[in-house]
Symmetry: C2
């Protein structure tokens, strides 16, 4: 007999090499401490660079990490001041943990958690505050994070401000708290922030902000336990994941979630239908509205920040998938399709959508309206089932907004490059600019084992076109449950896609880090180049594989080209030569010469003055 | 003291798992045996799929591989029939091998090689034959390879023919030899095929054909020897590289190249300026036209199929790079810039371009006009230096064409997504549709260690826009010399980019493999899914990491979701259920019902007949 799964004892802590955690306070808000990762540089012109930091206290050398105590509840004072009643909450039941016996039961996280629930008539959600003209602490905090680097960039001689193509997005030169409020009020952005998730460091998701990345974690019946899942959370945010979805489906699901949320500085999303299905023994036909409703409340009370709800899969959509190559590939979508057909009824999620809104509003759980009919192959992309559901999601967006709920919309899937833009255009059209949140899309089906790349291509493109958050895909997609290395590879790949999108959109400060790294590269500041990269450990290891000595860290070459063939070294020599020439009286100025040559089509250089 | 580097004794042979090499003959050309990789499937509807196969005899179980003897010279009879004089050729000199002493000298490949050189007045190049209206064996062979799958695709029920966006490319439903000839005659395609490379299995590069991938190999002064380089060639083409560039710069450069060419079934490209620089001791200022000219002849006689020539870096361009963040990042470009400034003279490559053409024409070495001023950072993308050089490349294209030479044009580099399309547009405009051959482009600078991905994004996009061949980038880019694993990762990433581009352009048969793989996935034919993927070994290993048993190869789930949450299983159950319903008298047809529901907005399913 197995022993109970141990609670996680330790997770990865300490800063990423070459950097440290610092906190900055927004102007006029000294009590807000917004985390930033500071990368120290060996550059007299720019001794440090600040980058966005979703990794939480785990990368703070001064933080005391105690998983059983949970993270410091930075939001608690703000939330307490809003006057939400404290409540007892629902009692945990055996089925919440999949009916696991006492010998295998994981203990819940013992961290203290004051349970609150908003009342009817009082503003609870960030959307309701925004509409009322109130700027919350969450908005100020998120604005500060978005603004990072914009001042520095304005002072960067190599910056080319806002030369991107934003496809209608409105990117401000500076992000103010008022701008965040306004975007939320318009439904164009959300701050997923359950009032029972006090540990959260707030962040904003929307087309006019930096593109965000979500990483999925979660066990399945076949693999993984609590220790691995909490470490996967910490590991994923270490490398830059902005939100985490816990897609667990096995046993101990309730108690594992308590560990995750109490130790999560980022928004946590879930798909409640997974747990509901566990409660009815795994048979979709046995699902009921009552079981689902109870699961929503259970998870909302725990502090989940956003729920994927597949209410767009309606009975009449299901036959539209009959001729597909890969049918329905969303777990939630297939469960609901099965339920609809089994009972010959419209989806209970669709029918009870208003009540779902009422429940989620009281905790400020944001909607992530699930794309249950997303295409699972190139052949099925942009078909009637997919776009039929998207229209329904637009209809549901209006209902959720009418109830005061924040909303984002999930998107595909498998889509060839030439069909990606239409997804964004239709989403903007049908869903009234609610943030889009896409899985990839994968631009071909033929590379299992490399679907982080097939999808990274699509993710970069759809991020550029306007998707607000990209859900990562790991190398194990279609093949198995990702492990720690897969999670890191998936996150880094998606940070690349998100950043490439920010650059192409023309985010004012996006290019700041590229410029800093390229300058370090050109000046052979190897350590700076490593430290400025998304993954300093890998960059350093790859370099050291052939040139491990410390002396090589200042060498003017690497093993790729060797000392004689380093173009950057040759260019530097050339520039020095030019400077020496310029210092002499022989030469008047290369730029003028260049123009002269171009005009004359001269084939021989004639020094000025001859 | 070291012993002489051993000649390579063995390379990777045998077919990729689940497939075998077969040969097909074009209609009416029974003597031409065009290789194809046949993937056996456990699918009653489609028992095998043929895919493009650049891997040469190494993946043929029946082939006898003897590196010292070289590959079978499949083209020799065709070339011999064209009446080119046999010639003695140039004598090898010590400086050809970097002046290496006898104790470290690698012996040249002993394979027999009849040296030929075209005369003035006789057609030598594929371009000259094409203009004369002559369809060569190379054109027939290449057409057969391009046509692969087009017939099958027309019979595929799930095929959606030519729904891509081709941006002006003209993709035929079927590729005929005459179409290949016509594209070459127009300068829109090339078949790199030196008359001294008889071992070559010809292939075509052009915007109206499948997007191709080049892999770079080559030692540097710091690392790698002959055995590794020949194995890297065999390894890179095994995973799908269509051409190989040998960028060696160290010692034994001439003799290593002889091993590579005699054992290469794909076109080999080089950058002759690298060897020329070795011959003058590594100092760009000491380069001369005479040394360079001699190097061209040396390599042309060996059988190199295309040369990168950086003749577009003119003296007046150099000052345009002065304010760049990363200066000049092309090795050849920086060498030539240094030479120009050292001598205050126009580039000797530019001044002697007509003679270069004359030399290359006599062997049919194709031009790959180098982009010596490509941007090395996001900040430098699309600047005056880059586009100034591109205009010069357009001018040189016309000269090369006038001399009967085949031409392709190299492109960047580091370019953010929103600036990629302009590169393609300008290239088409200035270079009169000569094939574009780009390195990436990398869409951000901030991910050293992952530049196969930062560049794979840009490569997929520019391939879609019209680039004919993509030069791979490995994870070691900017950090060190790639090893065997890096080469494979680079090639697979670029096969993804090229294939995603083919899909998006609407190549008639491109989707065939995606459909086959997705059907295998949906039907839980795990082995077929692995074998249809670009890298069956990795796909299988990832799956088996959590579910290693043979029984799991037919299981209707994987460890990602587990048995209860597999959407594909649920969909299949659902479809079975629907079939059972349809078999009963209760139900008239789901499609009709679907329309009815949509119209009524019905919330309850009412079976037909009630």
């Amino acid at each position: 007999m197995n022993h109970p799964a141990a609670a996680p004892l330790s997770v990865t802590t300490g800063p990423i090499g070459g950097s440290r955690k610092v906190y900055v306070s927004p102007p006029a808000h000294p009590s807000l401490r917004v985390p930033v990762r500071e990368i120290a540089l060996n550059d007299p012109l720019s001794p440090a660079l600040h980058v966005y930091d979703p990794s939480g206290p785990y990368t703070d050398d001064t933080a005391q990490i105690d998983l059983a105590a949970g993270l410091p509840p930075v939001r608690d004072a703000w939330i307490a001041a809003r006057g939400f009643p404290v409540t007892e909450g629902r009692t945990t039941r055996p089925e919440d943990n999949g009916g696991v016996g006492p010998d295998r039961l994981v203990a819940p996280c013992p961290a203290h958690h004051t349970l609150r629930r908003g009342e009817a008539g009082q503003p609870v959600t960030q959307l309701e505050f925004a509409r009322a003209g109130i700027i919350t602490e969450e908005m100020i905090y998120a604005a500060q994070r978005e603004n990072l680097g914009r001042t520095q960039m304005h002072e960067d001689a190599h910056a080319r401000l806002a030369d991107g193509e934003a496809f209608g997005a409105a990117l401000p030169a500076f992000v103010t708290p008022e701008f965040v409020r306004s975007e939320i009020a318009l439904g164009r952005a959300i701050i997923p922030a359950n009032i029972n998730h006090g540990e959260l460091e707030p962040m904003v998701i929307g087309r006019n902000f930096l593109v965000k990345v979500n990483a999925n974690i979660g066990n399945s019946a076949v693999s993984s336990g609590v220790a691995e899942e909490v470490e996967k959370l910490v590991w994923a945010i270490r490398w830059g994941a902005d939100t985490i979805m816990d897609l667990s489906t096995g046993r101990n699901i309730h108690n594992i979630r308590s560990w995750i949320i109490r130790n999560a500085p980022v928004p946590i999303g879930t798909v409640p239908i997974y747990q509901a299905l566990e409660k009815v023994g795994g048979d979709p036909a046995r699902l009921t509205w009552e079981v689902f409703r109870d699961t929503l409340i259970e998870q909302a009370e725990q502090g989940v920040d956003y729920f994927t709800i597949h209410a767009g899969v309606r009975l009449h959509h299901v036959p539209l998938t009959a001729q597909r190559v890969t049918g329905i590939v969303s777990r939630g979508g297939s469960i609901m399709a099965r339920w609809c057909l089994s009972h010959h009824r419209e989806s209970f999620l669709y029918e009870n959508f208003a009540e779902i809104c009422d429940i989620m509003r009281r905790y400020d759980v944001a909607f992530s309206l699930g794309d249950g009919l997303r295409p699972g192959s190139i052949a099925d992309a942009n078909d009637a089932a997919q776009f039929g559901e998207l229209e329904t999601l637009g209809e549901l967006t209006q209902i959720a907004w009418a109830h005061g709920c924040q909303v984002m919309i999930e998107g595909p899937g498998h889509v060839p490059m030439h069909k990606i833009k239409l997804n964004m255009d239709k989403q903007l059209e049908h869903c009234a600019e609610a943030p889009f949140y896409t899985l990839g899309p994968l631009t071909t089906d033929i590379a299992p084992g490399y679907d982080h790349i097939t999808s990274g291509i699509g993710a970069a493109m759809i991020g550029w076109f306007g998707t607000a958050m990209l859900c990562y895909v790991t190398p194990k997609e279609h093949l198995g449950l990702p492990d720690r290395d897969d999670v890191k590879t998936g996150v880094i790949t998606y940070k690349i896609a998100a950043h490439a999108a920010d650059l192409a959109k023309g985010h004012p400060a996006a290019q700041h880090r590229d410029n800093a790294l390229s300058r370090a590269r050109f000046e052979f500041r190897w350590e700076d180049q490593f430290n400025l990269s998304l993954d300093p450990d890998t960059a350093r290891a790859y370099h050291d594989a052939t040139l491990p000595k410390e002396a090589h860290k200042v060498a003017h070459f690497c093993s790729m080209c060797g000392p004689k063939f380093c173009s950057m070294k040759i260019t530097q020599d050339l520039r020095r030569e030019v400077r020496e020439m310029e210092a002499s009286t022989v030469r008047a100025g290369m730029d003028a010469k260049s123009r002269e040559f171009a005009k004359q089509g001269a084939t021989i250089y004639v020094p000025a003055g001859e």
